[in-house]
Amino acid sequence: MKAYETYLLDRAKVEGNHQLATYRKLGGYKGLEKVLKGGLTPAQVVDEMKKSGLRGRGGAGFSTGMKWSFMPDIAKDPRTRYLAINADESEPGTCKDRVLMEKDPHGLVEGSLIAAYAIRASAVYIYVRGEYRLPHDRVLAAVQEARAANLVGKNILGSDFSCEVYLHKGAGAYICGEETGLMESLEGKRGHPRQKPPFPAQSGLWNSPTTVNNVETVFNAPFIIERGSAWHAAIGTQNSKGNFLVGISGHVNRPGVYELPFGVTAQEILEEKAGGVWKGRKLKAWFPVGSSCSLLKGSDIDVVLDHDSLRARGSSLGTAAMVMMDDHTSMARVMEVIARFYEHESCGQCSQCREGTQWLSQIFHRIAHGHGQEDDVATLEALAKGMAPGKTICALSDAAAIPTLSAVKLFKDELIECIRQKRDPLAQPAPKYATVGAH
């Protein structure tokens, strides 16, 4: 792979960077200073983001500048506005935001403040998944240090911009990563996604204009402000700009979170970063970007990791979490695990999703355990088609259907073989343990 400039993880590698003194020594809060002391208007900040080509890193890949510009005109709509930072990170395979929060929490605080300024929010809520204790505590400590240094709170750095930053904890529900489920949860309720419209920019938290952004998304803002949108737009491919974080896990020699520019191939990441498939085996299949996308075959590893190239192969960029499976892997088992996950996480409001995820889970389970029925593969396909696209309140139903459809398409023969043999020829020997009705 060609040499490239890094920036997202540079500070994270420095010991003690989670503390303000070190962060500042490494150039931290220069982006915020440029905005507030350099007299950039909110509209100018939004414009810079638009020109930079930055797209959201939470899964949908929407233009960040565009999203910010959807917030209503403050002259016509004086309601309080909010920024919610999505640090719920629960998509299987995804572990990148955690690195930023643990190792570079001030970077998140600074990015959040720039985003809040751009959308004229007076408060930021950082919604951290409940299990992320260390990341939560690091970000909380960073906010407290920043407040003491006049970087959070009233009249930040002597400007007329005032903004509070609060942390909020989730409690283990994947659906609270969906932006409207997140808002319900922030309001102290069950995380049931809301019907859209109204969209969050019109009516979000407490019926006020709200923007929801992923951690890595706003983390990019200080770099773009400081170095300029042209610098950012020069990195990457036509419609995917800048560097991004890739998590690579599963059957590889060096799983990890790596920083890469858009435009490298998945093969380069697998070979040069992750050290190739473990045990000298071959790659059978992989989730390019988390479990809510189409599986790809090992032979698709030559794909460029960016929005357009993955779409062309029938997948998407999602959360850039590559999950790799070697040629000893049972796809019936993989899909049993994935389907069980969505069944567990469906919030139950929509019948297609509630019933559909249960059926998918039961059917993959019985195929993997040697009780598959002759028409199961056809049933899986019919069910998944009834669950998506866009038939439900939120995209979780799609997220369960999409990998199912890809598994049925790419690994039909393998699934049928499990059904015919009344056992899974690739199953690993299962260790024994006692179990009670598990939660």
Binding site: S90, P92, G93, E131, H168, G188, G247, F287, F341, C347
Partner: protein, 156 residues
Amino acid sequence: MALPKKLTDEFDELVKNYPERRAALIVALHRCQEELGGWISPQTMEDLGAYFGLEPVEIFGVASFYPMFNLRPVGKHVVSVCHNISCDLRGAQDIIAKACEVTGAPLGGTSKDGRWTVRHVECQGACANAPMIDLDGVYHEDLTPEKVAKILGAVR
């Protein structure tokens, strides 16, 4: 009974972070679980209901939605083993088996001596360091069954 003053003092500060008091409920549930015996008892639901001006059943409705809240008592130590895809691919089942063996707890239950609860959880965001467990709120990563035996064996 009422909530201990230590907690209500904390909550009085916490509610100021939000335009509506009830928004503090989930964070408050976490604190109650931490301070009041590791689970959300019916009594805690009543007390939280009184504090927030909500019916206890409404507290139940929220608490029961979130997997992290225990609605029944748990062991003194809780071992949560991730069994999602990245961990499964790298041996999560062996980790579960070892955790059950060492603690004497069945998966999803508590050991007879009340010391241990072992359960499985979905992806914990530690996929690049799979397999993993969360022991009493602290992550242990890059595990093997031997390492699990050692980690759990060292707990008093």
